[in-house]
């Protein structure tokens, strides 16, 4: 693993702890969700982010609540990195009234607007123009906020890729487009579906910076995102970062993944694991002690267990919730008896 041998600018001890904590939260949350799904406790479609933690965390390390992100169907990692509470997330996956979306959205629509998390998305490619819109607000209201669009390699072939990025580029909007190239869209390889070597190569066509980084190396993602976010905040317009990564689980829970090779799987899960390599980096750079890292892992595990308990004990939504929140207001005058 070529995780930086040198200190990466900006990764202070405090930042490093936050990053490792978030990466652990994502990994342990996802591993637990994988188990719960296997036990038949979670309804619906679940797409797990495990393996790709370095992308969400390396990027969100530069954001705060006023910044927005748009996510994908594989959204749990983005949620966690953007500061969403595990309890509310887990309850949402269970379809409980205490979930982040009151049980209305589930895994594929998990969101927390107050944290700037504009939603996982059931529509591949949905996020490009949505991030562009949040960037437009930031520019018009001069909030200094940026918007980040996380998207998959498959989404890069949807027409909205072009429309969203071109719009952000001509209006010079503070948007960072982050490709999570995990090599596959469902069972379709990136190489087959995309007539480009790198998604980031397309940046040139929009006259914006494009950069390919090792998406398993959180320090590399952090570094590239730092430049892109700064550029956006300075009003210099959008950037495109492509993170080469790997999803540890199937496309969705239940996928036999015959299209993957076992060598790839083994090397990604065992040697190139993003948490493992970052942990080694932190110890090597003396940024966090092993004792502290162990303690963090223990407390995250507890927090995840707590979220499961919270979700299980939470109430379900009731009939009155069904037609609530379709609109802000919607009056249908009652017709009086005649």
């Amino acid at each position: 693993m070529k995780i930086s041998e040198e200190m990466v600018q900006g990764i202070t001890s405090e930042k490093a702890k936050w990053m490792y904590q978030k990466m652990c939260e994502i990994r342990m949350f996802e591993d637990r969700v994988h188990e719960l799904f296997g036990q038949g406790l979670l309804p619906g479609f679940i797409h797990l982010y495990a393996g790709e933690e370095a992308v969400a965390v390396g990027v969100c390390a530069h954001l705060d609540d006023k910044d927005s992100i748009t996510s994908t169907h594989r959204g749990h990692g983005h949620c966690i990195a953007k500061g969403c509470e595990l309890d509310g997330m887990m309850a949402e996956l269970y379809g409980k009234a205490t979930g982040l979306c009151n049980g209305k959205g589930g895994s594929m629509h998990i969101a927390d607007v107050e944290k700037g998390m504009l939603g996982a998305n059931g529509i591949v490619g949905g996020g490009f123009p949505l991030a562009t819109g949040a960037g437009l607000t930031a520019k018009l209201k001069k909030t200094g906020a940026v918007a980040v669009c996380f998207f998959g390699d498959g989404a890069g072939n949807h027409g909205t890729f072009h429309e969203g990025i071109n719009l952000a580029a001509i209006w010079n909007l503070p948007v960072v487009f982050v490709a999570e190239n995990n090599g596959y869209a469902e069972a379709t390889p990136f190489e087959y579906a995309s007539s480009c070597t790198n998604i980031a190569d397309r940046a040139e066509a929009y006259n914006i910076p494009g950069e390919v980084v090792d998406g398993k190396d959180v320090t590399a993602v952090f570094d590239a995102a730092q430049r892109a976010v700064e550029r956006a905040r300075k009003g210099e317009g959008p950037s495109l970062i492509e993170c080469k990564t790997y999803r540890n689980y199937g496309h969705f829970e239940g996928d036999a993944q015959k299209y993957k090779t076992s060598e790839d799987k083994k090397s990604h899960v065992e040697e190139l694991d993003a948490l493992k390599t970052f942990r080694d980096y932190l110890i090597r750079q003396e940024l966090v002690t092993e004792v502290d890292l162990d303690e963090m892992e223990r407390s995250v595990k507890e927090a995840v267990e707590k979220s499961v308990k919270f979700a299980e004990e939470s109430p379900l939504p009731t009939a009155a919730d069904l037609t609530k929140d379709v609109y802000v207001s919607y009056e249908t005058p009652e017709r009086g008896e005649q």
């Binding site: 379809g95 379709t188 015959k258």
Partner: protein
């Protein structure tokens, strides 16, 4: 020979027969074969569709005829319109009908209108297979039933089968048809089994079927809701009420006479549809019955539909979102003014 196979197998078999019969029939869509250009898979498919409906077809027909596409619905659905207009007979899969948002122009403005705009000088023998329906805990963007929207577009035919037998015969008819047809598959029906003959047969588009004869009231069901209606009808028998269950099978063209003939006999009409109620197939059939069958009716027409809201994720909410046999019994009891029916 007839045997019991699933809704999914019936569709797979129809595609296989159509492809054997006519070499112009091709399939395209996301992961319809799966694992394109993955060396170690060779011709063994990785997926055969997200629900496995097209599994095995790539082994027989090869990747020239089973085309995996990028996630570019506007691209490949648009391309399918003109492969159809220029001599092929494509079956394009729009994985979930909800994704029509990504390619509505290609369907509504191109495919549906080419023939008319060109003065009848083009034809578009395109079939779009697509998944619909709630009950799968798939939430608001993967659970809609949008057949009403397509029915509203002149130039498109719309089919919504409710049984494996109908699915096979209607899909073969859709593929043979020279107009664009959108073929709806309810994701919760895929594992339902039914009797299906082995060979090639078609069911004409625009021909409904009485799924259960009865004389006291007519229940028109759409897709999976035919089954809900049949379940309710069984319970009504205990009260001495014989409901006739009508399955239109295709919504465009719509078999108006099967519905009108039925209400002429029963004098009562209930429509059960899980789509949203406004500007829907339920309102469409109600309007048609009121317009052409008013004199036959002894009671107001009733619609049992989803409420005017998106499909919720939580199972607790989704279960009350959908029509149920109980909801039908309640409406029947109000219609026939006999409260004991609800308690059956």
């Amino acid at each position: 020979m007839t045997r019991m196979i699933t809704f999914s197998q019936a569709i797979n078999e129809a595609l296989q027969l159509a492809m054997r019969k006519d070499e112009n029939v091709i399939l395209m869509g996301e992961d319809v074969a799966g694992g394109a250009e993955v060396d170690h898979l060779q011709d063994e498919e990785a997926w055969g569709g997200v629900m496995g409906v097209t599994a095995g077809l790539v082994q027989e027909f090869g990747r020239d005829r089973i085309l995996d596409t990028p996630i570019s619905e506007a691209g490949y659905i648009g391309a399918a319109v003109t492969t159809a207009a220029t001599g092929m007979r494509p079956v394009a899969e729009l994985m979930f009908n909800d994704f029509i948002g990504s390619c509505l122009d290609e369907v509504m403005n191109q495919g549906a209108k080419l023939r008319y705009m060109f003065g009848g000088k083009a034809k578009v023998p395109l079939t779009i297979r697509t998944m619909h329906g709630a009950g799968f805990r798939a939430a608001a963007q993967h659970s809609q039933s949008l057949y009403g929207m397509f029915t509203a577009i002149p130039g498109i035919k719309v089919v919504v089968p409710s049984t494996p037998y109908d699915a096979k015969g209607l899909l073969l008819a859709a593929i043979e048809d020279d107009d664009p047809v959108v073929f709806f598959e309810d994701k919760t029906l895929y594992n339902v089994k039914g009797e299906v003959p082995e060979g090639y047969y078609t069911i004409p588009l625009g021909q409904g079927e009485i799924k259960r004869p009865g004389s006291d009231l007519t229940i028109v069901g759409i897709g999976k809701q035919v089954q809900t209606a049949l379940t309710a009808a069984e319970q009504l028998v205990k009260k001495g009420i014989e409901a006739e269950v009508v399955d239109p099978r295709s919504l465009s063209p719509l078999d108006e006479s099967i519905i009108l003939d039925s209400i002429m006999k029963t004098n009562r009409l209930i429509i059960v549809d899980e789509a949203n109620p406004r500007c829907s197939i339920a309102t469409d059939i109600s309007a048609m019955a009121a317009d052409k069958g008013f004199d036959y009716l002894d009671a107001p027409i009733k619609m049992i539909t989803a409420p005017h809201c998106p499909v919720p994720f939580s199972p607790a909410l989704e279960d009350i979102y959908l029509p149920t046999p109980d909801k039908i019994l309640k409406v029947v009891s109000e219609m026939i003014e006999d409260d004991s029916i609800v308690k059956l």
